[in-house]
């Protein structure tokens, strides 16, 4: 007997033919949909309105420094791993005006930028990325200071998560304990089957969005098939990363010769920090009009790999690529743990895929762990 709305934490079966109804319900509730779509030979995250815009039948092949898309026949909407885009660009935008100031004699009129992006639904959030969002929440919302734009935007997000069926060869969420299945932090979590989705209801908002979608309670058989998807995803992940000796193993090896070695390969191009879903460094730009009466302050993304990052008057604290690569890796895998209580890495593998010279941070960690030859 069908109830009109499923209960929170229920698991239901949704026919793929009704998936558009989910999109329609979200849009009717005022949500702009952001989700994966194919553009420029990659899967990007953009505004979408129709299910047909999802990468139906697309697969990806990833390796260190390599990303390829291939169209296969099939009915799968989410049969690929993560791509260069992550959800951080929507909560922590690459450029955001902070405020403007109008000066008249000694009178200052300060106008904070209070424009918010409104309600948005993230379609297809992978468990690693869910974790990454939660990590950035700790930086911008629940720390000592709060970023008002981030927290406001965050409250307005609807999360439609998707449990992975085909992780890429660069993934290692299993080692970082962030996937391949979402366990919390979502409004809906989908596991894709050939003709259906098994949907876990994560919140009342999620339940609401299932209205008139023809959902039915999932049977034990359905749940079994969903569990199989996750098992297969876990088996597909062959990258294993040891984390039990972090942060100490990196703190103890700050002069390891491997840092010199990786510095000969690293271009300091900042790709890794751009694609990393947890990297949060930023800088500010100040500009003013010709009469210097109206000025603006804008926050923009920054990267610890830039030469300017550690510039102070009189010099630079990290002038070499060796120093900057060491900073990035020890922050991501070690100091982050002391700062926030958990690792900064979610095992999404993006930095490995999008590094133009194919540096693999898991390989670097393992090499440093190995004792230096005297």
């Amino acid at each position: 007997m069908a109830e009109s709305l499923p209960r929170v934490s229920a698991r239901v079966l949704l026919p793929k033919a009704s998936f558009q109804r989910v999109f329609d319900n979200l849009q009717a509730a005022g949500f702009t949909l952001l989700g994966p779509t194919v553009r420029d030979s990659a899967i990007v995250l953009e505004e979408i309105t129709r299910v047909e815009e999802l990468p139906l039948g697309w697969c990806d092949e990833q390796a260190p420094g390599k990303y390829r898309l291939e169209k296969k026949r099939g009915s799968r909407y989410f049969d690929y791993g993560v791509s260069s885009h992550s959800w951080k660009q929507f909560l922590f935008p690459p450029r955001r005006k902070l405020f403007s100031i109008e000066k008249h004699a000694s009178q200052w009129t300060i106008k904070p930028n209070e424009n918010g992006p409104g309600r948005r639904a993230f379609i297809g959030v992978r468990p690693c990325d869910l974790n990454a969002i939660s990590i950035q929440d700790h930086v911008f919302v629940t720390g000592e200071f709060r970023d008002p734009h981030y927290s406001h935007a965050r409250e307005q997000i609807f999360v439609l998560a998707v449990n992975c069926s085909r992780p890429s060869s660069n993934c290692f969420c299993t080692s970082m304990k962030t996937g391949p299945r979402a366990t919390s932090g979502f409004d809906l979590a989908l596991t894709e089957l050939p003709e259906h989705f098994v949907v876990e209801i994560g919140s009342e908002a999620g339940s609401e969005i299932m209205r008139d979608t023809g959902w039915q309670l999932a049977t034990a058989f359905d749940l079994g098939r969903a569990a199989q998807v996750t098992e297969q995803a876990e088996e597909r992940i062959d990258r294993e990363v040891r984390t039990d000796d972090l942060p100490q193993v990196l703190y103890d090896n700050l002069e390891h010769p491997r840092w010199d070695e990786v510095a000969t390969r690293c271009l300091s191009c900042t790709n890794c920090t751009l694609v990393c879903p947890t990297c949060f460094c930023s800088t500010v730009e100040d500009s003013c009009d010709l009469r210097a009466t109206v000025s603006e302050r804008t926050r923009v993304w920054d990267s610890c790999f830039t030469l300017d990052f550690s510039r102070v008057h009189g010099g630079n604290n990290r002038p070499s690529i060796r120093a900057r690569y060491r900073q990035w890796l020890t922050h991501k895998l070690a100091s982050w743990i002391d700062q926030f209580g958990f690792s900064g890495c979610v095992g999404c593998g993006r930095c490995i895929t999008w590094c133009p010279v194919g540096i693999d941070l898991t390989e670097e960690l393992q090499a440093i762990r190995t004792k230096a030859t005297p």
């Binding site: 550690s310 510039r311 102070v312 009189g314 010099g315 630079n316």
Partner: protein
């Protein structure tokens, strides 16, 4: 035990043959390729070194300006005298600027020897004082920046 190389480096030359024999009894020859960092400032100072061939640059990192060289040491010269002076911590980094060969002696063993044999101890200390004193005078001259115009 390796053959005793003889240098006319100041430290060695001022020691009596008996002292030379005792000091270098357990000496080890090491070879470092150009670019090798032999020790870093702040490291525990374990060995005094005497260069046989090559060149070692002593540098101090002055953040945020970076590394500044303060002195070079060449064949016959002693570096890391701090291995023989408490608290035995390096105050500068040492880097081989060319392929370098140097003799090193375990500082702790030598200090113990000096304590047991007070006349050896006196000789080593007297010679060391001369090395450090000449370094100090050189440092003062460097610091006075005598080549500065105006």
């Amino acid at each position: 035990m390796a053959e005793q190389p003889i240098y006319d480096g100041r430290f060695v030359a001022e020691l009596s043959p008996r002292a030379q024999e005792k000091v270098f009894a357990e000496a080890e020859m090491i070879q470092d390729n150009a670019g090798t960092i032999i020790f870093r400032a702040g490291d525990h100072s374990q060995y005094p070194f005497i260069i046989k061939s090559g060149q070692v640059v002593l540098e101090i990192s002055v953040p945020p300006k970076g590394r500044r060289s303060i002195l070079t040491a060449g064949p016959g010269e002693l570096f890391s005298w701090s291995a023989l002076v408490e608290p035995r911590v390096e105050n500068a980094s040492a880097r081989a600027s060319v392929d370098t060969e140097a003799l090193r002696v375990d500082g702790e063993t030598l200090m113990k020897l000096c304590e047991e044999d007070s006349s050896l101890g006196f000789e080593v200390r007297r010679t060391l004082a001369k090395v450090i004193s000449s370094r100090l005078i050189a440092t003062r001259l460097q610091f006075l920046d005598v080549f500065q115009v105006g």
